[in-house]
Structure formats: C-alpha cells, structure tokens
Amino acid sequence: MSTINDNNSMLKRATGIAGLDDACAGGLPAGGLVLLVGGEASGKTVLCLNILACAAQRDETSLMLSFEESESQIRRCASSFAWGDAFNNSGRVSMIDARLPEDAATSGSFGLDGLQATLAHALNQHDTRWVVLDGIDRLARLHDDPAELTCQLIRLHDWCDANRVTVLLTGKHDGGASPTHARHLEDAEFALSTVIVLSAELVQRRLNRRLRIAKYRGSGHVTDELAMLVDHAGITLPLARHETHTAPPASNERLSTGIPRLDAVLGGGIYRHSTLLISGSPGTSKTTLAASISAAAVARGERALFISFDELADRIVRNVASVGIDLSKGLEQGLLRIESCASRPFLLEEHFIRIQQMLDSHAPDLLVIDPTSALLKANSAEPSHAIIERLVGMIVARGITLVITSLLDDGTPGEENTLTHFSTIADTWITLSYHAQGGERNRTLSVIKSRGTGHSNQVRELLLSSEGVELANVFEYGSEVLTGTARLLMEQEVAAQDREHEREQRLRLGRLQRRLEELDRERAELAEEYGILRETETHDSKTLDRRRKAILRHRDPGQATTRGNGGRHTK
C-alpha cells in the first residue's frame, strides 16, 4: 500500500493552505517525509501549525513532536492565528515535547526506530496521518555520521510511504554559515524526494517571505520562488492560486460615464468588462471623473467598489458632492462601497489579496482603483508590473469593468514606464490636463485611445460646477481650440459678427424688396397706359372709318355701296 496510484500517478494529501496546494498540483505526498528547510523567521513552524490546524478543521488527527520549543510556546504561537482555536482546543492535535536534554551525549550511533515506533502507535491508536517533527536538526546534530542518519531517514520515509503517513520535518538552513547544520541537512536534502525551502529577507526594510518547492519527485509543481504572506489568517501564497473565474465574452454593451457629452465622444460610453485608464497630473479631476462613473453605475442599479489610496471615504463623498455627484445614496443602498487604504505599509502581494477579498465579499460590477500608480509605491517580492498585470487579469477574468487612474509622471526613478505600461492594459485611455492660455488654466479632457470605437481627436474643455460635470461643446470657430475666458470672448465676438452680418443681410434684402415693389408699381402703370393707348387707338380707328364712310356716302353714294360688292375704283 504505497502512494503510487494504479495508473502510476502520485497520491496526494491536500494541505488546506491557499496557494500551496495549487503550487503542488494537489497537495503534498500522501505518505513519506517532506523536508522543510529555512532560516530564522522564515515561517517553517507556522506553516506546519497551519497545516495541522487545517487537518483538525477537517476532523483529522495529527501529531506534533517539538524538538526545539516547548509545548506551551508552540500553543501560544498557534493562538495568535485565526485557527489557533482549532489547533489548541479541538483535541485533534497531539503534542509531544521532544526536546533533548541539554547535556545529551552520544556513545556510538543511534537510530530513529523509537521515532518510528511512536508514529506507528499514533497511526494505530488515532489514525494519525499528519505528523510534524519540528526542529529535527537538533536531533540530527547529535548524530556523528550524516550518511548513516540519511539512511535512517530514508528507512523512516519508506515506512511512512508504505503506511500513508505524511511527515513534515523542519530544519534550520542558514545557507551554510554554520557547517554543522548545513552538513546534516544537505545529505538529507539530496536523499529525500520532497523538499521545500523557505526564506525571509529584508527588501527595502520590509520583510519578504518566499517559498520554493525545491524538489517534488513524482509530481509537477511550480518551480518559482513564490511570495508567502503570514498574517492573522495564517499562511497564504497569493500568486500561486489559479484564477477560477473565466473571462466573459466581449460585450457590446456601453456603460454611461454620467457625463452625456463624454458618452457621445466614446461612442455611447465605455464597454462593459473593459478597462478605462484616466491619467493626468495632480488636481486634474481624475477622482471626480471616476466618482461620476461609479455614481452612474449605481444609478443603473449595479454594484460598484471604489478603492482609494489617496483619500478617506467621507472626504471623497464630500468633495464630489460639491460638483453635483451624489455618492451617499449608493452607499446607503449598499450598492457602492468605498475603501480607503494606505499603499506603503503593505506589500503589493498583500494588496493583491485584500483586493481579491474585497471583490469576493462585495461582488461589484465596476471597480475603481484610484490611483493605481500608488500601488507601485508598495514593496514586492516580484517585479511590481508583473503583479499588477496579474491583478488586472484577475479583475478582468471576473467580468468586472475596471477604471484605473494614474498620475502622469511621478518623476520617481524606475517609474518612467508606468503610464506606458498601464496604457497597454487599458482599452480606453482618457487624459485630463490643464490648458494655460491668456493668463488662465482651464481643465481639458481628451481621448487618447479607445479600442473598438472611433473617437474624436478633439481636446474638450471639462467644466465643473455645482450643477455637475460637463464637457463643453466642440468649439466651432477658428483653427485653434480655445477654452475658458478666451473661448467666451471668442464666442461673443463671433456672435456679434454674426449679428452684424445678419443685420446687413436684412438691410440688403429690404432694399431689394423695395426696389422690386417700385418696379412692380411702374409696371402696373405702364400696363395701364398701354391698355388705355390701345383702347384709344381702336376708338380712333373706328371713328376714322366712320368719318371716311360718311364722306364717301356724301361724295358718291353708288360707290359706297359697290365697294361693298368688291368693285374697284379705277382711274
């Protein structure tokens, strides 16, 4: 009965520690020795205590032999964690004080059979499957033959493997500074098949703990050095955890920013599930814009989470209320949550976990991180950009629409590429700025990039007033976009010009109109004249005719009648 499955894969035992089981592809071997080495304060003992506490919570029994600390010391250590109760009071964890007497001496070589007998007893009596031998290097130090000791460890390992008991051995590893320690454990490290190395070092005055699975024969595992956090909840490996959510398909739905003209510029708003970057120097209203987007989300009945590294929650609410954005309603309804936190006191990995926990508990549709560039002030074991990318990846995978704000340029060395880096993550990039002209500074907004939307290249003026946040209309005149007073004056000037122009037009039209009327009258007169003339002419002609006929009748009556018969008067 060994730990190899029928299909030759290894049987594993889950430790219950977030991230460790992921990093080990399921857990530690279900039988055999696991060597945990590390220097001072690297967390070896805490890791073991955490594993045993998790086992106790699953109602499994475990045994701890302490070769270094007293039982009360260990129990005190455990009680400082959230699972201390499970460890100390569940009755599932047996502790044996195995400390060697100070004057322990040796005569000849000794074996670990007694140890094995103890483990066999625990297995038979209580079905103990997890055993911790904390500080085994104390015992190892006594042994004068490291090769012999290693053989004994292998024998013990084989017994544990056969009986499906997982034994965690912890030992001090100080990088070879003390020859005794390094020697004993080095051989064991070679011989045993599962070795985990813990380390703790000061990086810019912050303690960075790391865990590395140096060896895990028979199983795939993460080989990188992983950040390990120790806090009240115990041990966590934040970046080893696989993201269990899968990103939703790209959405065509547009979300309003709360500023109608800005929505228009963005083709309707920002896409759901996308990432928006708002950049700008201090004081350019990034927080205000982010707050407007949050308020718009709440107005749609959606949940929003606003994380601020700069301001306290009530200050933000007050500040944006002065420009007509009401966040208090969303807070009351529970749809909006504002969390403020300082960035420097925590490691970036700790921020990662806290944000993850906040997302788990509040389940928002929209997340604002203001300013995201503050996260770069925190220390981290891994390169900051890598962690931030993972953070954004985690957020996007959950289908959350993300708004990040960033200061333009801190001028801090090493951060020159911050904005460029953020901009590659973002789908939409809005930059806020001040436009100085004619002795004034006016706020401007422009869209630098907007994936999936054609967008205007215009720099628009951002207007803040107690009525709300507005984007000014596109400036229609001239070759240069003006803002503020200059714009006002220009507009007035143009309006005056327009009026003048209009007036002239009216005058001209008036004149023409009058001319037309005049001509009309003339025409009418002439027509009348013409009519009279024609009438007169007809009358005259008739009169003439009558007169002629009368004369003819008088002079030659016969002719007058024959004329009518067509006779010709020839002479």
Binding site: T106, S109, F110
Partner: protein, 100 residues
C-alpha cells in the same frame, strides 16, 4: 538485571532485538561488570512493545540510556553504547550520585 520501574537508577530504551539494541545491552552489561556496578538497578523499556513510554521522557532516538537525577531531571546517553569512554563517564556520574 531488571528491577521495578521508579526505583531504577538507569533506564535503557531499546527497540526489540534490533542490532543496535542488542549491542547496547551487551555493551552496558560489559561496562557494569568492568566497573563493578552490579548494584545499579537497570530498567529496560522496549519502545516497540511500549511506544507511549517514549513520550514520557522524550526519547525517540534509540538506543538510549537514561539516568534519573535526584531532582527529577534526566540525563541521556544516545547510541549503542559502543563508545566506552562516554559510557564510562556517564556511569561514573550515576555511581557518584548513588550513595554506597
């Protein structure tokens, strides 16, 4: 050479008849003979038969020879007792502590 527990000057922890355990028993017997310490009481504990005894005095490496001090503290000598020098030193301390 076994007597009741509690009265014993020495306790020898063994694991059945493993080679080391046999050697330890033999070496101890030889040393006792050599130094005329037959008056010392020795109690043998077999950890295979009696595993819980190991926890009582925290003895997990075997063989081990334990002597109880007057104030309840224990001094332990680990190993198969093949190193005569350290064994003698250990036994001397017991003999000194025990009157007559």
């Amino acid at each position: 050479m076994t007597t009741n527990d509690g009265q014993a000057d020495l306790v020898l922890y063994l694991t059945s008849d493993s080679p080391r355990s046999v050697r330890a028993r033999d070496n101890l017997a030889a040393a006792i003979d050599e130094h005329g310490l037959e008056t010392l009481t020795i109690h043998e504990v077999d950890l295979v038969k009696n595993p819980s005894a190991a926890a009582r005095h925290g003895v997990f490496a075997t063989p081990a020879l334990l002597r109880l001090g007057s104030n309840g503290t224990a001094a332990v000598l680990y190993g198969d007792l093949s190193n005569r020098e350290s064994l003698n030193a250990f036994l001397r301390a017991v003999a000194i502590a025990k009157p007559a």
